[in-house]
Symmetry: C2
Subunit: 426 residues, 2 copies
């Protein structure tokens, strides 16, 4: 047994034991732990910020990119937001123990479902210290134990945050091992952890595509993951003209770097002449580059849109998640062609139709196989807070277990309960 093996086995054993205690823990105890953790984050503000400053100094020395430095940075305000986020999770309803769908069967037994924690959850993420508090709060509130493995550049920040959350667990009489931060930066640990179903019940990777793919390569444990967000807005022939521009603008330009931003605009050819010029001018006003199908290109050129923002789309553009002020635009013949396009090029994340036609709306809702399917609303709504989950651990593009924004419920499962009065099976 190598040292890493022993470390991993110890980590897993402690997590399993803590998970049993967390599953039994009262809502009151879990909430007390989270509120005390939020308080500790505020009280130990200077220590957390000092740890973050040390991480940042090392990161600058190592020449990390400004984007990575930005994600790693914890401001005083960011720390307060973190503490507030942890306290907000305490205020969410506890899903554990919920009993649902209890029915009496002809045999006399009553059968229903009870919501229970998954057990031990492994979170693999990049050097973003805010994920540490956020993920820990959701795992603990849902009655699970968490093993967190954040990017190595954030280790000191994460350790400081871990101490605060453990102070909360201690104050509430809950086991400290319910939150374990992986202390080694050895990457082999991640490969081993995600291949150890005896140690961990589910893995939630949070980060870019590279991280997700690395986790998937070795995973033997179920993974709740998020791949691409190639979201579509489809302007149907029967779209309400008053809704088109605001939704298209919001879906693309509200924020560029987010997974629920629109990356492709599809528009029925019958209404292209009506909507595209003003859409084009709106995008030009935001400096959004348009990658166009041939007919869109001709149309927008004819309407005098700035040529530096117009480009012919290639096949790759239909698949691309730009996360940038760029949008692909394509004319389609009808609903069938729009659904076909989304089926072929989409990433099963979030897609919206704009229409006042009932039949088209119903067909789009049913036939588009994405985690979130919308009628007359911006794709930007695909979000745990907007959906009323209170918080989200991530957005799943899987079909098994949890689809779309995953909140506390996605960190639980339902077991069957049978309430009998002495029944036997005949």
């Amino acid at each position: 047994m190598t040292e890493l093996d022993r470390y991993l086995a110890d980590l897993g054993r402690a997590a399993r034991q803590a998970a049993r205690a967390m599953a039994k823990a009262s809502t009151q105890a879990k909430n007390a732990a989270l509120l005390a953790a939020a308080e500790a984050l505020r009280r130990h503000r200077d220590e957390v910020l000092a740890a973050n400053a040390a991480d940042l100094a090392a990161a600058r020395e190592a020449g990390l990119s400004p984007a990575l430095i930005d994600r790693l940075t914890l401001s005083e305000k960011g720390l307060e937001t973190m503490a507030e986020g942890v306290a907000q999770v305490a205020a969410l309803p506890d899903p554990v123990g919920e009993i649902d769908e209890v029915k009496r069967r002809p045999s006399g037994i009553q059968v229903g479902k009870m919501r229970v924690p998954l057990g031990v959850i492994g979170i693999i993420y990049e050097a973003r210290p805010n994920v540490t508090a956020d993920a820990a709060a959701l795992c603990l509130k849902s009655g699970n134990a968490a093993i967190l493995r954040g990017g190595k550049e954030a280790l000191q920040s994460n350790q400081a945050i871990e101490r605060c959350i453990r102070a909360g667990l201690e104050a509430a009489g809950l086991p400290l091992a319910a939150l374990q931060l992986v202390q080694t930066t050895d990457r082999a640990l991640v490969s081993r952890l995600v291949a150890s179903p005896e140690l961990v019940d589910v893995i939630v990777p949070r980060g870019g595509k590279g991280l997700i793919e690395a986790v998937m390569k070795d995973a033997r444990v179920p993974v709740i993951k998020h791949l691409d967000g190639n979201c579509h807005v489809y302007v149907h022939a029967a779209a309400d003209p008053a809704k088109v521009l605001p939704i298209v603008e919001n879906a693309k330009t509200h924020r560029y770097g987010v997974c629920n931003a629109a990356e492709t605009l599809l528009i029925d050819e019958a209404v292209a002449e009506r909507h595209l010029p003003e859409i084009g001018r709106m995008f030009a006003g935001h400096g959004v580059q348009m990658r166009c199908c041939p007919r869109t290109l001709t149309l927008l050129q004819r309407h005098g849109l700035p040529t530096e923002l117009l480009k012919a789309a290639t096949e790759d553009d239909w698949r691309e998640e730009y996360l940038a002020p760029i949008i692909a635009i394509r004319l389609v013949a009808d609903l069938d062609e729009a659904i076909e396009h989304i089926e072929r090029y989409g990433s099963k994340h979030t897609d919206a139709i704009l229409t006042e036609d009932y039949g088209a709306a119903m067909r789009f809702l049913r036939e588009v196989d994405s985690a979130s399917v919308m009628v007359n609303a911006s794709t930007r709504f695909a979000d745990g807070f907007e959906y009323g989950l209170g918080a989200e651990i991530g957005i799943s593009t899987d079909k098994i277990h949890a689809r779309g924004p995953v909140g506390l419920e996605g960190l639980t499962s339902q077991k069957w309960i049978v309430l009998g009065q002495g029944e036997i099976r005949r």
Copy 2:
């Protein structure tokens, strides 16, 4: 590309295309297909039985064990049961398209969930032709396409059944590729199939532990699986004496070879003297061998139970799924020790407590981490029909997605739907 690669790619492509059509198919069309399939099974009875006779002749020649021959055998009555089973699935409510939990959010959007098929389901099973019809019916009714790979000894029987079900699909105007039986007996195909998330969305292995473990070894696709059924009946100190004997008898002796049969009896030491002698006599009457903890052994010997049926339990006995007229018996100090025993040795399948004590019942329900947890009922109730699912594709011992008996709903997932009136995110 090898021939197997090409075969697998063709199979997968056809399945994906069929899955899209099945997801859109009306309930009426799916039911018509199932009823026509049931009719075809009856009409082509002689051909199916002849194909089965050919499989049986080859199996006997190859010297297959009587147990395998028994599973492979289709009687005239068995075939009628099969046809009736397919027709019964037509009568079940269609889960696809169900919209649930629609709530209006402060932004103005309405958010809810719509139940949708998983897509392409791969079923890997042994040489049991009845699984072919059964699994196909559940996959099709839930709007999925199915790729079935049954044990090679049943290939001709399965092909005959496949023809009948495809006749049903054809009669209803649904794509034949919604049901594809793997025609090659090359075992490499299974390894490849379960490692191809682009071809198949979920794998359901049905069979013994060897088959499940073989599938798990290579799986890259989510698996709904069933491992051991080491079920416990725990007689608590406050058990109603009138309920103890009937439930213990039913849980162990109703059927021995099933996964929801009790394999271990736990009994509070305070009531051992009261219950064990009559339980022992009952088991002796059924010829059930008792593997006892030291105190149970002494007690039962003292009460003159036949020595040939009494044996000291070893550590292995607590883990064993006998599937036979054998039961392990252990005295425990109290509820905590019982839960601890189940946590350590159980298989998270089905466990029951017998008690009239409210607090003990509630703690057992919450703290025992098994797919089915019961109070005052026989473990034999852990079954899709008994739970009201109408039918089951299997019993899952996983925690993700589906736990316990998996019916039509377990072959679907829920996507988010957003019904807007032009809302944008601020």
